[in-house]
Symmetry: D2
Subunit: 345 residues, 4 copies
């Protein structure tokens, strides 16, 4: 029985963690914290949890966190960095869904998040929780940084191509489309149904916080420094990310069977599904599921490789991936509790 605590579970990654963890018989929810709502029943905030979660929110500094085997942080950035060191020091393992430990470079982090990091000494120890590249390290991790939603969809899409040196790395393009839940459960005019429904727009054109995280990964897989143009778009749906990736094929690689490259790379991955040639993914195929669906095409006339990669931003892009990491960290079947099928329609 794994004793679990969750810090800051009033947002969408929080309720999604609870949806995935509450039914499990090998997990015991010990404590769920919230600064504003302590004392409120969790199921009063999230009525889908009625009958499944009996806890009330505790104070964020609850001592019960120290009695947990693992504590998830489902907080905004710059929160985990304050209290993670104390928990780690007593042997509690940490799975941080926020951005606090995703970048290895402190200066880069501070530049993009515009605040001083309060536990930079941990940046080197934190393991980046993308199981498809880091499975072995994850197993032994004390401090795990769960990748962001865009970074997951985009890295999984480019990964096989970069590892095999198949594409030019000087002009990578990631045109990404996200559902509104990516903005979190925060009262903001731009996320109102009346604003975001029946509309679509790009944002963060000049630079989005996920860019350095994506590049950190892509540089590693490529073994060189890539140039990525990343344009995220807000789309009128709740869940889902669709990343459309473009890169010129490298000279001399036109004979390579890209479909096979992807299938080989992900053959043993339980949560990455390379679609058969000619099929294209849709975000609804993975709604509520921990899967990434990927298709790859080569447009010969333009010498352009196009990759389509979809995830549910709250599952494989956040809480599902967090649970997948927990399973690996605790030596469980990696798919435990993640077997439910996407809700379609």
């Amino acid at each position: 029985m794994i004793k679990v605590g969750i810090v800051g579970a009033t947002g969408y990654t929080g309720v999604e963690l609870l949806r995935l963890l509450a039914p499990r018989k090998d997990v015991s929810l010990q404590v769920i914290t919230s600064r504003e709502l302590q004392g409120t029943a969790v199921a009063d905030l999230f009525p889908n949890l009625r009958g499944h979660v009996d806890l009330a929110f505790s104070a964020p500094d609850s001592d019960e966190l120290f009695g947990c085997d693992v504590v998830f942080y489902a907080t905004p950035h710059a929160v985990a960095m304050k209290t993670v060191p104390a928990l780690l020091a007593t042997g509690v393992r940490i799975i941080d869904l926020s951005a606090d430990y995703r970048l290895r470079d402190q200066k880069l982090w501070e530049k993009w998040y515009n605040v001083a990091h309060e536990s930079p000494e941990l940046l080197g120890d934190a393991v980046y929780g993308l199981p498809e590249v880091n499975r072995a390290k994850i197993a032994g991790a004390s401090l795990l940084a769960v990748p962001g939603c865009y970074p997951t969809a985009i890295q999984l899409g480019f990964l096989p191509l970069l590892e095999q040196g198949l594409i030019e790395t000087g002009s990578l393009i990631a045109d990404a489309k996200s559902g509104v839940s990516g903005a979190g459960r925060k009262a903001a005019v731009g996320s109102l149904l009346s604003e975001a429904s029946e509309s679509l727009h790009a944002y963060g054109v000049a630079g989005h916080r996920h860019l350095p995280e994506i590049c950190q990964g892509l540089n590693t897989y490529a073994g060189e420094s890539v140039k990525l143009t990343f344009i995220p778009h807000l789309t009128p749906m709740i869940r889902g990310i669709h990343a459309t990736l473009y890169a010129p094929l490298r000279a001399g690689k036109s004979g390579v069977d890209l479909q096979k490259v992807f299938e080989d790379r992900y053959r043993n991955e339980p949560f990455v599904d390379v679609l058969p040639k000619g099929q294209f993914p849709a975000t609804r195929n993975v709604r509520g599921a921990n899967h990434c669906q990927i298709a790859v095409c080569y447009l010969e006339q333009n010498n352009m490789v196009v990759v389509l990669s979809v995830i549910d931003n709250l599952v494989k892009g956040a809480s599902g991936q967090a649970v997948q990491n927990m399973n690996i960290m605790f030596g469980l079947d990696e798919t435990e509790g993640l077997g439910s099928i996407a809700l379609l329609p």
Copy 2:
């Protein structure tokens, strides 16, 4: 040329007023105020107005308001009541889209709005701006209270039945469904796309602020005190109200041709469209238009009259009706500037 001012035009009724007024050649927009955004170009807040509205927001106490022929208030409740008296005193006519002058009974108003009314002496003078019942008074009004969105849809639906004494008034039911824009352009978690999309729920079951306003009207038309059960629902769309009204037919009235009653009542109304027998309205039929579409049915087996009434909450339910009232007040063609056709699909 009518000189127009708008107080508080940062919400949805504000931008809708501007959409309707800006193209008019007989209207001159003089001043648009906002407490928070003074100095900001109106078109920077509402990019659909680029090229149509060149003004920037002024301070809410701008002197220019006093130079207007008419000032619209597109403010939350309890704002207009503070500054309307001074404007009225200098001869400026007022069209208030908020609730401040809709109820004749001060105590009732203060009970539902939970604040002391600051210009209660005007409640008796204010004209309730439902042209289909008050056209003559509107023409001479100095202070006009624009009806609420639910009250418009529901009153227009019950009106012919009550005027003719055709229904039992002891158990009226109004089951109303509204788009999310009815909640305004206000950052609120419940109005987020991720909360309100793909869901539907009732609210205000124990009592909604529009109830006394609706009953004030229905009582008048019926010539007696009615009992109305009014349950509003939030539905996952931006615009539109669909009111489904139920009332038992009065004994002895089964021979009455209800279709004809409605057609006769609204024959000369430019903005109330009684559908042919067997057709039912949909909110999209009136999206962006100032029309109310109505159907009436009699379910003989149950002796039940059912009325279906739809409007666009921001047009006939707010800004369009306000402009219709302005047209009447200034002796213009009542349909001036309101002739555009609903956007379908």
Copy 3:
């Protein structure tokens, strides 16, 4: 291991059955039929099932159906009635999600479905699969008729009131709002996103096929013939039914604690959740889950009882309820395979 066949699994109740059954270790999917798509992989039609369902569609008269323990019919009406008798005769148990065996009265069925019933002799044997009223009969059923979506939401809402004789039965009103998936996965202009999105309208005002089914149930619970006005509405969401029910309280019953009546009635029901006083249900609270959430209010001034009842039309309103029935029929834990939590947001 229960051997399961599904007839006609190309619609939304079909894919939903597969979502619920595929992950189960105590169920073996033997055969899935489709007239048009035989030979096609099921997961090619429904990509959410990739990796979960390996079968291809078989012909509708596949012999393998006779080797099943239970066969689900996820067909339009007037299909099951043709082939169910032969399967029943060989001892295969039937769970019919269509309307073919829901009404006990053949003439009534033929009037509403406008076709001659081809196995009317079974109407008397068929068990109406609403576990909350028929659990014992369901356990022994050979032929089970799964209730419709509207009938489930509405019957569960009125049930406690009618059983206790608390409401006037002469003017019941059910104002129901449904997501578009209730219309099925059928190419129809009215169900297009461009038609049904951003709009809301009533339909079937003169009479909907679910009306006799609902009344058959309500009459039984009331012990008398009720009069129900039932107005369904199409709303711009995929899943969910919200039934808003109205009935006058019976004279002399004003002292009854309605909240307690509902809580008592459903205390032991695993899938009916009576909300605490003052909370109201939303369809998203049960999206993807087999739960019905209910709230009851008494509006004293109007002597009106209002019940709000929500389900996911494809789960408790169809495939989830079918699985619940299967669990009961085969002596399993009634909640087996139905424990997953609603997807929110």
Copy 4:
């Protein structure tokens, strides 16, 4: 008074034409045809037109077409090509919203549309109706081909860059996102709300019919043959196209002020609005309006030019542009009847 006929007005471009033309005092709607619905009142099919359009649908070969000054074709492809020659021969001017006369190259057309062209002799005479490049020719046109929706958004986005030789033309990318109305008012499973809502996917990855039309334009503006990778996506909204365009800046052009290039190019265009630096377009800004909103950015680090271009696919992408062309052809103010403001929210 311009006498107007419309062939095939039962789809979305048809109803949109009627929305724009019906209120005009200088236009007389003479005849509206439909093969399936002749005899049906147009307003029965499109209830938003009640009170605005009194005509019924005529047979597609109605003689009245020959009495018109101009006939719009709002038909699927391969329809106009059959009957346009006869109308042209009698002096009726033609505005074809379909694809029949958009390509100058007959073979290319037949390859992409997979049918023999029946009036290829007209391909050379037809004028491509993009006013921003062809205004003079449009004025004198007898046969006008209205550009497709994707081609309009994409060409207007690339136009200033190609005319000035500012970008590399060997790896242009157009990642385009469209609302579902682009698929027309045709019963198709993929366009159902239950399929297309809450989801997003690419389609036509291997080649979309708009590709040769777009390239025909881009090649002309560039004065050389460009290579364009064009990936369209279906997004969960009714209206709107958002094109995100990528191209490397040409060597030696880094000093060019791209913002100024766009502003200069479109300064006198009434329907192309270059946003101020730092503002990005959203499709809702132009919903129901004939405007194209454009933003241009240069990402120096990647040497990448990014252009964001939005239109309403049914207005500037179809019927609004058709009306704009009609205005030019008949010597009217180009903006006549196109002055209404986008519906926001």
